[in-house]
Protein backbone atom coordinates (compact mmCIF):
# COMPACT_ATOMS: atom_id res chain seq x y z
CA UNK A 1 0.00 0.00 0.00
CA UNK A 2 1.01 3.59 -0.49
CA UNK A 3 0.07 6.48 1.69
CA UNK A 4 0.07 9.66 -0.36
CA UNK A 5 0.01 12.99 1.43
CA UNK A 6 -1.19 15.85 -0.73
CA UNK A 7 -0.81 19.51 0.20
CA UNK A 8 -2.88 22.05 -1.70
CA UNK A 9 -2.31 25.79 -1.34
CA UNK A 10 -3.35 28.89 -3.26
CA UNK A 11 -0.77 29.87 -5.85
CA UNK A 12 1.72 32.54 -4.86
CA UNK A 13 0.19 34.97 -7.36
CA UNK A 14 -3.28 34.56 -5.85
CA UNK A 15 -4.20 36.63 -2.82
CA UNK A 16 -5.14 34.50 0.17
CA UNK A 17 -7.59 36.63 2.20
CA UNK A 18 -8.01 33.90 4.80
CA UNK A 19 -4.26 33.66 5.31
CA UNK A 20 -4.08 37.46 5.58
CA UNK A 21 -6.76 37.50 8.27
CA UNK A 22 -4.93 34.82 10.26
CA UNK A 23 -1.67 36.72 9.91
CA UNK A 24 -3.24 39.89 11.30
CA UNK A 25 -4.62 37.87 14.16
CA UNK A 26 -1.18 36.39 14.89
CA UNK A 27 0.24 39.92 14.90
CA UNK A 28 -2.39 40.93 17.45
CA UNK A 29 -1.25 37.96 19.54
CA UNK A 30 2.17 39.56 19.55
CA UNK A 31 3.73 37.23 16.96
CA UNK A 32 5.18 40.11 14.98
CA UNK A 33 7.80 37.93 13.25
CA UNK A 34 5.14 36.27 11.10
CA UNK A 35 5.53 37.63 7.58
CA UNK A 36 3.06 35.55 5.68
CA UNK A 37 0.41 32.88 6.21
CA UNK A 38 -0.93 30.66 3.46
CA UNK A 39 -3.88 28.44 4.21
CA UNK A 40 -4.32 25.21 2.33
CA UNK A 41 -5.73 21.72 2.43
CA UNK A 42 -4.15 18.48 3.45
CA UNK A 43 -5.38 15.19 1.98
CA UNK A 44 -4.26 11.66 2.76
CA UNK A 45 -4.87 8.99 0.16
CA UNK A 46 -4.31 5.30 0.65
CA UNK A 47 -3.63 3.44 -2.59
CA UNK A 48 -3.35 -0.21 -3.44
CA UNK A 49 -0.15 -1.19 -5.16
CA UNK A 50 -0.56 -2.29 -8.72
CA UNK A 51 0.74 -2.16 -12.20
CA UNK A 52 0.61 1.60 -12.65
CA UNK A 53 2.82 4.64 -12.66
CA UNK A 54 2.31 6.14 -9.22
CA UNK A 55 3.45 9.68 -10.03
CA UNK A 56 1.36 9.80 -13.16
CA UNK A 57 -1.68 8.69 -11.20
CA UNK A 58 -1.17 11.21 -8.42
CA UNK A 59 -0.60 14.06 -10.87
CA UNK A 60 -3.82 13.12 -12.70
CA UNK A 61 -5.81 13.11 -9.46
CA UNK A 62 -4.25 16.34 -8.20
CA UNK A 63 -4.63 18.32 -11.39
CA UNK A 64 -8.14 17.15 -12.26
CA UNK A 65 -9.86 17.08 -8.91
CA UNK A 66 -7.85 17.58 -5.74
CA UNK A 67 -6.58 21.00 -6.78
CA UNK A 68 -7.70 23.63 -9.26
CA UNK A 69 -4.58 24.57 -11.27
CA UNK A 70 -6.02 28.00 -12.11
CA UNK A 71 -5.62 29.17 -8.52
CA UNK A 72 -3.92 26.37 -6.59
CA UNK A 73 -0.57 24.58 -6.37
CA UNK A 74 -0.02 21.16 -4.91
CA UNK A 75 2.83 18.99 -3.73
CA UNK A 76 2.83 15.48 -2.41
CA UNK A 77 4.79 12.91 -0.47
CA UNK A 78 4.58 9.14 -0.79
CA UNK A 79 5.08 6.65 2.00
CA UNK A 80 5.06 2.90 1.57
CA UNK A 81 3.03 1.19 4.25
CA UNK A 82 2.50 -2.44 5.06
CA UNK A 83 -1.18 -3.38 5.08
CA UNK A 84 -2.43 -4.39 8.52
Amino acid sequence: MYKVKVYVTLRESVLDPQGKAVMHSLHKMGQSEVEDVRIGKYLELTLQKGNYDLDEKIVAMCSKLLSNPVIEDYRYEVEEVVAQ
Binding site: L10, S13, V14, L15, P17, Q18, A21, K41, L65, L66, N68, V70, I71
Partner: protein
Protein backbone atom coordinates in the same frame (compact mmCIF):
# COMPACT_ATOMS: atom_id res chain seq x y z
CA UNK B 1 -38.81 25.68 -25.65
CA UNK B 2 -37.97 23.01 -23.11
CA UNK B 3 -35.60 23.70 -20.23
CA UNK B 4 -33.77 21.26 -17.98
CA UNK B 5 -33.15 22.46 -14.44
CA UNK B 6 -30.29 20.30 -13.21
CA UNK B 7 -30.59 19.29 -9.56
CA UNK B 8 -27.53 18.19 -7.59
CA UNK B 9 -27.58 17.09 -3.97
CA UNK B 10 -27.32 20.47 -2.27
CA UNK B 11 -28.80 22.63 -5.04
CA UNK B 12 -31.18 25.13 -3.48
CA UNK B 13 -32.12 27.60 -6.21
CA UNK B 14 -33.65 24.97 -8.48
CA UNK B 15 -37.22 25.92 -7.60
CA UNK B 16 -36.55 29.60 -8.34
CA UNK B 17 -35.00 28.68 -11.67
CA UNK B 18 -37.95 26.44 -12.54
CA UNK B 19 -40.39 29.19 -11.51
CA UNK B 20 -38.64 31.76 -13.71
CA UNK B 21 -38.94 29.79 -16.96
CA UNK B 22 -42.12 27.81 -16.22
CA UNK B 23 -44.38 30.27 -14.42
CA UNK B 24 -43.03 33.62 -15.58
CA UNK B 25 -42.27 32.69 -19.19
CA UNK B 26 -44.70 29.82 -19.67
CA UNK B 27 -42.04 27.53 -21.10
CA UNK B 28 -41.71 23.80 -20.57
CA UNK B 29 -39.34 22.89 -17.78
CA UNK B 30 -38.31 19.76 -15.95
CA UNK B 31 -36.13 19.05 -12.96
CA UNK B 32 -33.33 16.69 -13.96
CA UNK B 33 -31.47 14.73 -11.27
CA UNK B 34 -27.66 14.75 -11.38
CA UNK B 35 -27.40 11.10 -12.42
CA UNK B 36 -29.42 11.57 -15.64
CA UNK B 37 -27.63 10.36 -18.72
CA UNK B 38 -29.58 11.95 -21.54
CA UNK B 39 -30.43 15.62 -22.08
CA UNK B 40 -31.13 15.39 -25.80
CA UNK B 41 -34.82 16.32 -25.48
CA UNK B 42 -34.01 19.68 -23.88
CA UNK B 43 -33.36 22.94 -25.74
CA UNK B 44 -31.75 24.79 -22.86
CA UNK B 45 -29.86 23.77 -19.72
CA UNK B 46 -30.06 25.64 -16.41
CA UNK B 47 -27.58 24.96 -13.61
CA UNK B 48 -29.00 26.47 -10.42
CA UNK B 49 -27.25 27.87 -7.38
CA UNK B 50 -26.80 26.24 -4.02
CA UNK B 51 -24.12 24.10 -2.47
CA UNK B 52 -23.78 21.03 -4.66
CA UNK B 53 -22.20 18.17 -2.70
CA UNK B 54 -21.89 20.49 0.28
CA UNK B 55 -19.18 22.53 -1.48
CA UNK B 56 -16.79 19.75 -0.40
CA UNK B 57 -13.20 20.19 -1.60
CA UNK B 58 -14.05 23.33 -3.65
CA UNK B 59 -17.36 24.77 -4.83
CA UNK B 60 -18.43 22.84 -7.92
CA UNK B 61 -15.47 20.45 -7.82
CA UNK B 62 -17.38 17.27 -7.06
CA UNK B 63 -20.28 18.12 -9.37
CA UNK B 64 -18.01 18.17 -12.42
CA UNK B 65 -17.82 14.37 -12.27
CA UNK B 66 -21.53 13.68 -11.84
CA UNK B 67 -23.21 11.74 -14.65
CA UNK B 68 -25.22 14.60 -16.02
CA UNK B 69 -22.23 16.87 -16.56
CA UNK B 70 -20.91 14.98 -19.58
CA UNK B 71 -24.37 15.53 -21.08
CA UNK B 72 -24.20 19.22 -20.21
CA UNK B 73 -20.83 19.42 -21.98
CA UNK B 74 -22.38 17.68 -24.97
CA UNK B 75 -25.31 20.13 -25.04
CA UNK B 76 -22.86 23.04 -24.83
CA UNK B 77 -20.85 21.66 -27.74
CA UNK B 78 -24.07 21.38 -29.76
CA UNK B 79 -24.60 25.09 -29.24
CA UNK B 80 -27.56 24.84 -26.87
CA UNK B 81 -27.85 27.64 -24.32
CA UNK B 82 -26.34 26.64 -20.96
CA UNK B 83 -26.83 29.02 -18.03
CA UNK B 84 -25.03 28.50 -14.73
CA UNK B 85 -25.96 30.78 -11.85
CA UNK B 86 -23.90 31.07 -8.65
CA UNK B 87 -22.95 27.48 -7.80
CA UNK B 88 -23.93 26.67 -11.38
CA UNK B 89 -21.25 29.15 -12.52
CA UNK B 90 -18.73 27.52 -10.19
CA UNK B 91 -19.57 24.12 -11.68
CA UNK B 92 -19.09 25.45 -15.23
CA UNK B 93 -15.66 26.76 -14.21
CA UNK B 94 -14.64 23.48 -12.59
CA UNK B 95 -15.89 21.55 -15.61
CA UNK B 96 -13.81 23.73 -17.90
CA UNK B 97 -16.73 25.00 -19.98
CA UNK B 98 -15.74 28.49 -18.82
CA UNK B 99 -12.23 29.79 -18.06
CA UNK B 100 -11.03 30.94 -14.63
CA UNK B 101 -11.81 30.02 -11.04
CA UNK B 102 -13.59 31.35 -7.95
CA UNK B 103 -11.87 32.49 -4.79
CA UNK B 104 -13.43 33.37 -1.46
CA UNK B 105 -14.83 36.88 -1.30
CA UNK B 106 -12.15 39.39 -0.43
CA UNK B 107 -14.05 40.33 2.74
CA UNK B 108 -14.35 36.63 3.70
CA UNK B 109 -18.03 37.35 4.26
CA UNK B 110 -21.02 35.73 2.66
CA UNK B 111 -22.64 38.55 0.68
CA UNK B 112 -26.42 38.54 0.24
CA UNK B 113 -27.79 41.78 -1.25
CA UNK B 114 -29.06 43.38 -4.46
CA UNK B 115 -26.27 44.47 -6.79
CA UNK B 116 -26.26 46.85 -9.71
CA UNK B 117 -24.91 45.15 -12.81
CA UNK B 118 -23.78 46.75 -16.04
CA UNK B 119 -24.70 44.91 -19.22
CA UNK B 120 -21.38 44.89 -21.08
CA UNK B 121 -22.45 42.77 -24.02
CA UNK B 122 -26.05 42.92 -25.26
CA UNK B 123 -25.28 40.76 -28.26
CA UNK B 124 -25.29 37.32 -26.64
CA UNK B 125 -28.23 34.93 -26.75
CA UNK B 126 -28.74 35.73 -23.06
CA UNK B 127 -28.82 39.51 -23.32
CA UNK B 128 -30.51 40.64 -26.54
CA UNK B 129 -33.41 42.15 -24.56
CA UNK B 130 -31.04 44.47 -22.70
CA UNK B 131 -29.24 47.56 -23.95
CA UNK B 132 -25.46 47.72 -23.84
CA UNK B 133 -24.53 49.77 -20.79
CA UNK B 134 -27.92 49.24 -19.16
CA UNK B 135 -27.73 49.05 -15.37
CA UNK B 136 -29.89 46.36 -13.82
CA UNK B 137 -30.55 45.26 -10.25
CA UNK B 138 -30.03 41.58 -9.51
CA UNK B 139 -29.34 40.00 -6.10
CA UNK B 140 -26.15 38.13 -5.22
CA UNK B 141 -25.77 35.51 -2.49
CA UNK B 142 -22.35 33.95 -2.28
CA UNK B 143 -19.25 33.40 -0.19
CA UNK B 144 -17.03 32.45 -3.11
CA UNK B 145 -17.79 34.79 -5.98
CA UNK B 146 -14.42 36.43 -6.31
CA UNK B 147 -13.68 35.62 -9.94
CA UNK B 148 -10.06 35.04 -10.90
CA UNK B 149 -8.26 34.42 -14.17
CA UNK B 150 -4.72 35.13 -15.35
CA UNK B 151 -3.75 38.08 -17.56
CA UNK B 152 -3.77 36.05 -20.72
CA UNK B 153 -7.27 34.70 -20.12
CA UNK B 154 -8.52 38.18 -19.23
CA UNK B 155 -7.14 39.52 -22.49
CA UNK B 156 -8.94 36.80 -24.42
CA UNK B 157 -12.20 37.45 -22.51
CA UNK B 158 -12.03 41.12 -23.50
CA UNK B 159 -11.02 40.44 -27.07
CA UNK B 160 -13.91 38.05 -27.65
CA UNK B 161 -16.46 40.17 -25.80
CA UNK B 162 -16.99 37.36 -23.29
CA UNK B 163 -17.51 39.64 -20.31
CA UNK B 164 -21.29 39.99 -20.24
CA UNK B 165 -22.01 41.52 -16.82
CA UNK B 166 -19.85 43.59 -14.48
CA UNK B 167 -20.62 44.94 -11.01
CA UNK B 168 -21.23 48.70 -10.85
CA UNK B 169 -19.58 48.46 -7.40
CA UNK B 170 -17.41 45.42 -6.91
CA UNK B 171 -18.70 43.53 -3.83
CA UNK B 172 -16.28 40.58 -3.75
CA UNK B 173 -12.90 41.48 -5.25
CA UNK B 174 -13.60 39.91 -8.62
CA UNK B 175 -11.04 40.59 -11.38
CA UNK B 176 -12.15 43.57 -13.55
CA UNK B 177 -15.48 43.66 -11.61
CA UNK B 178 -16.58 40.57 -13.51
CA UNK B 179 -20.03 39.25 -12.58
CA UNK B 180 -20.73 37.03 -15.59
CA UNK B 181 -18.90 35.63 -18.62
CA UNK B 182 -19.67 33.44 -21.61
CA UNK B 183 -17.55 30.92 -23.43
CA UNK B 184 -15.95 31.96 -26.70
CA UNK B 185 -18.89 30.64 -28.72
CA UNK B 186 -21.32 32.64 -26.58
CA UNK B 187 -23.77 29.84 -25.72
CA UNK B 188 -22.55 29.11 -22.17
CA UNK B 189 -23.11 31.86 -19.59
CA UNK B 190 -21.92 31.75 -16.00
CA UNK B 191 -22.86 34.49 -13.56
CA UNK B 192 -22.76 34.91 -9.78
CA UNK B 193 -25.85 37.18 -9.46
CA UNK B 194 -29.24 35.46 -9.48
CA UNK B 195 -31.47 36.58 -12.39
CA UNK B 196 -34.02 33.93 -11.37
CA UNK B 197 -34.54 35.81 -8.10
CA UNK B 198 -35.36 39.01 -9.99
CA UNK B 199 -38.32 38.04 -12.16
CA UNK B 200 -41.19 39.87 -10.48
CA UNK B 201 -41.71 43.27 -8.84
CA UNK B 202 -42.79 41.36 -5.73
CA UNK B 203 -39.19 40.15 -5.43
CA UNK B 204 -37.84 43.70 -5.54
CA UNK B 205 -36.77 43.60 -9.16
CA UNK B 206 -37.74 41.97 -12.40
CA UNK B 207 -34.56 42.92 -14.24
CA UNK B 208 -33.55 39.28 -14.48
CA UNK B 209 -36.59 38.35 -16.53
CA UNK B 210 -35.12 39.80 -19.74
CA UNK B 211 -32.27 37.32 -19.53
CA UNK B 212 -34.65 34.38 -19.77
CA UNK B 213 -36.70 36.17 -22.43
CA UNK B 214 -33.52 36.67 -24.43
CA UNK B 215 -32.77 32.94 -24.35
CA UNK B 216 -36.27 32.10 -25.58
CA UNK B 217 -36.20 34.77 -28.27
CA UNK B 218 -32.82 33.63 -29.59
CA UNK B 219 -34.01 30.05 -29.64
CA UNK B 220 -37.21 30.98 -31.49
CA UNK B 221 -35.32 32.98 -34.07
CA UNK B 222 -32.96 30.11 -34.64
CA UNK B 223 -35.34 27.17 -34.69
CA UNK B 224 -38.97 28.23 -34.94
CA UNK B 225 -38.64 31.03 -37.48
CA UNK B 226 -36.46 28.82 -39.66
CA UNK B 227 -38.99 26.00 -40.01
Amino acid sequence: MKFAVIVFPGSNCDTDMYHAVKDELGMDAEYVWHDASDLSKFDGILLPGGFSYGDYLRSGAIAQFSNVMSEVVKAAKEGKPVLGVCNGFQILLETGLLPGAMRRNESLKFICQPEELVVENAGTMFTTQYEKGEVISVPVAHGEGNYYCDEETLKALKQNNQIVFTYAENPNGSVEDIAGITNKEGNVLGMMPHPERAVDELLGSKDGLKLFQSIVKSWRERYVAAT
